[in-house]
């Protein structure tokens, strides 16, 4: 379980996240348009972006006090994997999975399923991979660890539909707390409704968390609805997620980036 209390974070003087209070108890889909602050949230959880105030806890462990502790958290954020530059992707994965106490066999199995064989990874350095190949490698390292919390930042980007399905399979089979940030709402219909929650992120604030099964037949309505599951007010738009058949079916929107356009 990942708990965030009164989190405030940003870059330099620019505050991106403010008053973030959320508890991720199980696998969660974090939906938000581009620029909502999803990556900044993940970077802050991982300690890459400085926290200005607040608390981040995994179970009862305050992440501020953690040092040299594998098995707590892992993420597919590229900056994490820049420890060494002139090392083939295979060796780099081996290094990280050794340090993070992961399973190299599982990593090879995953990358092979995505069409990247061991020989290829032994020849290419991380900076020599295409954006899609890099995403596969980072997703595979994250999946191959046994960390209690795994953060996937836009894991479906740059993947073709077949590979997206393979990745969904791995996400479904993982027993740990996964938080998957994306702006792609079609995932709602693809994931197992019983094991996933959904949270929304707009302008640095998190709204939710709701069980996914409640959103399967939800609609997006622009404006406020008293009976709505959730009402989100941003600086430019107010909308409600409701089970009443008004507005547009949520899963038909495809990407949350369209919200501003539809409004």
């Amino acid at each position: 379980m990942l708990r965030i209390e009164d989190l405030k974070a940003g870059y330099g003087r620019e505050v991106i996240l403010e008053n973030v209070n959320v508890e991720f108890k199980r696998k969660t889909l974090l939906l938000g348009p581009n620029g909502a602050g999803k990556t900044t949230l993940f970077r802050t959880i991982c300690g890459l972006t400085k926290k200005l105030s607040g608390k981040i806890m995994i179970n009862h462990t305050d992440l501020d006090r953690v040092e040299g502790t594998p098995g707590l958290i892992v993420a597919n954020i590229p900056e994490i994997y820049r420890l060494l530059y002139f090392v083939p992707a295979y060796n780099l994965a081996r290094l990280y999975l050794d340090l993070l106490e992961g399973d190299m066999g599982l990593f090879i199995e995953i990358t092979s399923k995505f069409g990247l064989d061991e020989e290829f990874l032994r020849k290419r350095k991380l900076f020599q991979l295409s954006a899609g190949q890099l995403k596969v490698v980072l997703n595979a390292i994250t999946l191959a660890t046994n960390a209690r919390v795994k953060l996937f930042d836009e894991p479906f980007e740059q993947l073709d539909p077949k590979r997206k399905d393979i990745l969904i399979g791995y996400l479904e089979n993982d027993k740990n707390t996964l938080i998957v940030s994306t702006h792609e709402t079609w995932l709602i219909k693809k994931l197992s409704a019983r094991s996933w929650d959904v949270a929304f992120m707009f302008e640095g604030k998190i709204h939710g968390v709701l069980p996914l099964e409640k959103l399967l037949n939800a609609y997006l309505f622009f404006g406020e609805k008293p009976s709505a599951l959730l009402t989100v007010k941003t600086s430019t738009v107010t909308f409600s997620i409701t089970t009443e058949p008004v507005g547009k079916p949520l899963s038909d929107i495809l990407s949350l980036d369209y919200i501003y356009k539809l409004a």
Binding site: K50, T69, P70, L84, F86, L95, E101
Partner: protein, 281 residues
């Protein structure tokens, strides 16, 4: 080794050894000058003085070789700063282990590159003079080499973290070249007499100590060409105060290494894991 060290040590060493830029600047480029010293700069030097020529050239090339690697150390610290912050918290490589393994792998790489350069220079001198010029004091040479690589390491780390603590990312690229640029202080010593100041110039002391242990002859405080000319004109006599005392040079190097190490610890703590990229926001 595997039990004492994490895989990071091995991979970090591999990272240095497979860096094509390091091979070019620290070895191929320096080999060119090693060949020049054997074939061009040795003209007119009597054969009995060739070992001095060898030692002097090696001292110069060694500082430029490790200085080139110093650039890579600074830039890799900039590059990996985000990763280090994550990995020291959420992997078994805690901060203490990271810095120990980073130090050991970097020192190992510096020694390997230095030895490769030495072998190449031996090879060129053998081709030209059919003689293998080995050091007169091999243990002393090993000490000089250790002092050189330790100094370059702490100086590079100091440089990287100073940039971060000064919050001046704009100068990061320029500053990363400091280990090599300052290496030319040793080259300036051919014409400039640093006198007593020479004891405070670690970049000169590296080449001076290498020279001393290689030929078992005390080095000059600078103005090497002028001092050699004076010696020849005065039947082997040297100018007063022109000799650098090797024991003092060793003490000075040790003080520099300890002092810079203490400053590195202070700066690393002060940097609080801030990365160079973060300063650019």
């Amino acid at each position: 080794m595997g039990r004492i060290m994490t895989r990071y040590f091995k991979m970090s060493l591999l990272h240095y050894m497979t860096n094509p830029y390091l091979w070019f600047w620290a070895i191929i480029f320096m080999s060119f000058w090693a060949a020049m010293s054997a074939y061009v700069f040795s003209k007119g030097i009597p054969p009995e003085y060739m070992s001095y020529q060898f030692a002097s050239a090696f001292g110069q090339l060694l500082i430029l070789c490790v200085g080139s690697i110093g650039i890579a150390i600074v830039q890799s610290l900039y590059y990996s700063s985000f990763s280090v912050r994550f990995i020291t918290k959420f992997s078994k490589l805690d901060s203490k282990r990271f810095y120990i393994e980073h130090f050991l792998s970097t020192i190992s790489a510096l020694i390997i590159f230095s030895l490769v350069l030495w072998l190449i220079q031996l090879f060129f001198y053998y081709l030209k003079f059919s003689e293998v010029y080995l050091p007169e004091k091999p243990i002393g040479m090993a000490l000089a080499l250790m002092l050189s690589v330790c100094f370059i390491y702490v100086f590079s780390v100091f440089t990287a973290y100073l940039t971060i603590c000064l919050r001046k990312p704009a100068i990061s690229m320029l500053v990363s070249y400091a280990p090599l640029m300052l290496g030319f202080v040793a080259y300036a010593a051919f014409w400039v007499d640093f006198k007593k100041l020479s004891l405070l110039l670690p970049f000169y002391l590296i080449s001076a100590l290498t020279y001393y242990f290689y030929v078992d002859q005390k080095p000059f405080t600078g103005d090497i060409i002028g001092n050699i000319r004076y010696q020849l004109e005065h039947y082997g006599q040297v100018k007063e105060g022109a000799i650098l005392e090797p024991s003092l040079a060793i003490i000075s190097m040790i003080i520099w290494i300890i002092g810079l190490s203490a400053l590195c610890i202070f700066l690393i703590k002060r940097a609080k894991g801030v990365s160079i990229e973060e300063l650019q926001f």
